[in-house]
């Protein structure tokens, strides 16, 4: 930007007399611009969600074409259904573990790779590449590697460790899926963090440095606070997308062994499309929604404590 145009602009009076007309035009244009997404989210998000609540109050089996009002029966049944409670626990464990590992690793990688050193571009490519690989492909390959006689255990055997059957051992299955998913997705968050790191104004860091702050102090007092809007966005997206994980579970474990990896979205899928119990599945869907909303609200509600700037 040239500085001459900047000074010229500063001398200009504000948009003055025509501002009311402009404001009216803006109102129309603004609403028109947001209309597609608003209408879309209404029709394909909010309205279907209303239907889900309605369905949840019915006993509905599409195979025998029953659709009978049962009131709160489905929800009452949910409360005493140990499978649902267990899957809630699995979902929380999965999502929180994944978010913590993913965001931490992404931040470490971003801090290492934001430096302009030879090779950092190549490493960025390495860490990012699983992001562009389709989930199914990534999961299928890891399925071979974590098999009881797969590559991981083969490697462990060479250093004298006999590895577990990762996906068939109830105490390892969930962690294994989480780790596979972290490797899959961490590159995206790394890139977002690198972008945020580069957007931290150099003169702020410089000012802190002149005031005698070391590199660590500059990071914790300048860089990190300025990155909190990005961190908020990244943690929210990571957490929410982890709450409704489906493909890795269906392909790797089918919810097993036992119900150790039966996350709630997989339970919903089984209930609806395998057991054909649409009413009960809808009730599970309502629970899934409120669980996701609660986690998001928790993060959003506490943002004032740790986010430097409004998102």
């Amino acid at each position: 930007m040239s500085s001459t145009s900047a000074t010229a602009r500063r001398g200009e009076p504000s948009l003055g007399g025509s501002s009311r007309r402009l404001r009216r035009i803006d109102a129309v244009v603004g609403l028109a611009f947001v209309a597609p997404v608003i209408v879309g989210v209404l029709a394909l998000g909010l309205v279907p969600f209303g239907y889900v609540i309605w369905y949840a109050l019915h006993d509905w089996n599409p195979l025998v074409a029953t659709f009978d009002w049962v009131g709160g029966d489905n929800f009452r049944a949910l409360l005493s259904d140990s499978t649902v409670w267990a899957s809630l626990g699995v979902t929380f464990t999965f999502a929180i573990l994944l978010m913590v590992l993913n965001v931490t690793l992404a931040m470490v990688l971003a801090v290492l790779l934001v430096q302009k050193l030879p090779g950092t571009t190549t490493f960025r490519t390495f860490f990012f590449s699983p992001v562009i690989v389709s989930t199914v492909a990534w999961v299928l390959i890891w399925n071979f590697l974590v098999a009881s006689n797969g590559g991981i255990n083969g490697f462990l055997a060479t250093i004298g460790i006999s590895g577990p059957n990762w996906l068939r051992d109830p105490s390892w299955a969930l962690v294994t899926v989480v780790v596979i998913q972290v490797f899959k997705g961490v590159g995206m968050n790394m890139i977002l963090f690198i972008a945020a790191l580069q957007n931290v104004p150099g003169d702020l860091k410089e000012a802190a440095r002149i005031d005698g702050a070391g590199p660590r102090r500059v990071f914790t007092s300048i860089t990190l606070p300025l990155m909190t809007p990005t961190i908020l966005l990244v943690t929210m997206i990571t957490l929410i997308s982890a709450m409704d994980v489906f493909a890795p579970i269906q392909i790797l474990t089918e919810g097993g062994p036992g119900r150790s990896t039966t996350v709630i979205s997989y339970l919903l899928y089984r209930t609806a499309f395998v057991q054909q119990d649409f009413g009960y599945a809808s009730a599970i869907g309502v629970v899934l929604f409120f669980v996701v909303l609660a986690m998001a609200a928790l993060q959003w509600g506490t943002r004032k404590k740790w986010v430097h700037d409004e998102v």
């Binding site: 879309g40 490493f123 580069q198 869907g285 899934l288």
Partner: protein
């Protein structure tokens, strides 16, 4: 990038000026820096193994005989190279057709998402219009509706509209449904970082809102368009849940759904063929990524005109 160079210069500056005995300290500092650099590279190499090894294993295993996939000890390179597995990729499943399906669906989803997302993102960042904050909150809330929650009514609608076993729901849902909201946020965030002065200059030149958006804001939004395109293309290409629900015939399958169905007539998985098909799914995407990746990373980091 420019500011980084400036920092390097400044880092060297005050040290030479204020240090009474610069020689020794600087040598020690250089040595320390070199040691930490070596440690950093070692760490990076170890950390990149779980990201790179699976891909290499995949490529080489496609050429292994079926019984070598689970050989003990495990091998990276085939002990005996064979095309047995690869040869069956296109016969066990209509792989080429499935690939084409995934590509064209993802392309349409990307185009639609950029249009919908940039319009709304720009409006939320720049335009004052009634109910803007309410509508924005509505989108924030919509972000939290997981696909799985609303799948039952949408499944019913799709069925009653006769769109089961078609690609229509796979195209419409990501462009307009709750999955479109992230794109709006990315565009909004980008347009907020764009200097308002640029647009005011356009307005003084007589451009209306649409003109400012199309001629000034959008052409500058390359990084955001790139980010959204890559995100939406991959999300669509990665789709698994929706195809699983909506598609029945193998010819209409997306590539991801097809990959899970590499079985012989007895329902036994054909490992080397499946791995070969997976490799064929991954490799072209990786190549495109390697070509476009620099633009993507630089695009994101070049956000705004500062520096």
């Amino acid at each position: 990038m420019r500011s980084d160079q400036a920092l390097l210069v400044r880092e060297a500056g005050p040290a030479t000026a204020s240090d009474p005995a610069p020689g020794k300290d600087r040598i020690r500092a250089t040595r320390r820096r070199r040691a930490s650099k070596i440690a950093m590279y070692a760490l990076l190499i170890i950390m990149s193994i779980p990201f790179v090894y699976p891909m290499l294993w995949m490529v080489f295993s496609a050429f292994k005989p079926a019984n070598e996939i689970f050989a003990i000890p495990p091998t990276l390179f085939p002990s005996e190279w064979t095309l047995d597995g690869v040869a069956r990729i296109f016969t066990v499943q209509p792989f080429a057709q499935q690939y084409l399906n995934s590509l064209y669906i993802a392309a349409l989803v990307t185009l639609g998402s950029v249009i919908v997302g940039s319009l709304a993102g720009y409006a939320f960042a720049r335009i004052r219009f009634p109910f803007a904050s309410v509508l924005f909150l509505f989108l924030m809330a919509g972000l939290f509706i997981p696909t799985e929650v609303t799948i039952i009514p949408i499944f019913r609608w799709v069925a009653s509209l006769g769109l089961m076993n078609t690609h229509v729901p796979l195209i419409i849902l990501p462009i307009l449904g709750p999955a479109s909201i992230v794109a709006v946020f990315i565009f909004r965030q980008f347009f907020l970082s764009l200097p308002v002065e640029l647009e005011e200059a356009g307005r003084l030149d007589g451009l209306g809102r649409l003109g400012i958006f199309l001629r000034i804001a959008l052409p500058l939004a390359g990084p955001a368009i790139g980010a959204v395109s890559i995100m939406k293309f991959l999300a669509s290409f990665n789709m698994y849940f929706e195809p699983l629900i909506f598609l029945r015939s193998e010819n209409l399958f997306t590539v991801g759904l097809g990959l899970t169905r590499y079985q012989d007539h007895y329902g036994e998985p054909i490992h080397n063929t499946q791995i070969g098909a997976t490799a064929l799914t991954v490799i072209p995407v990786v190549i495109v990524f390697l070509l476009a990746q620099r633009q993507f990373v630089e695009g994101l980091s070049r956000t705004g005109l500062k520096g």
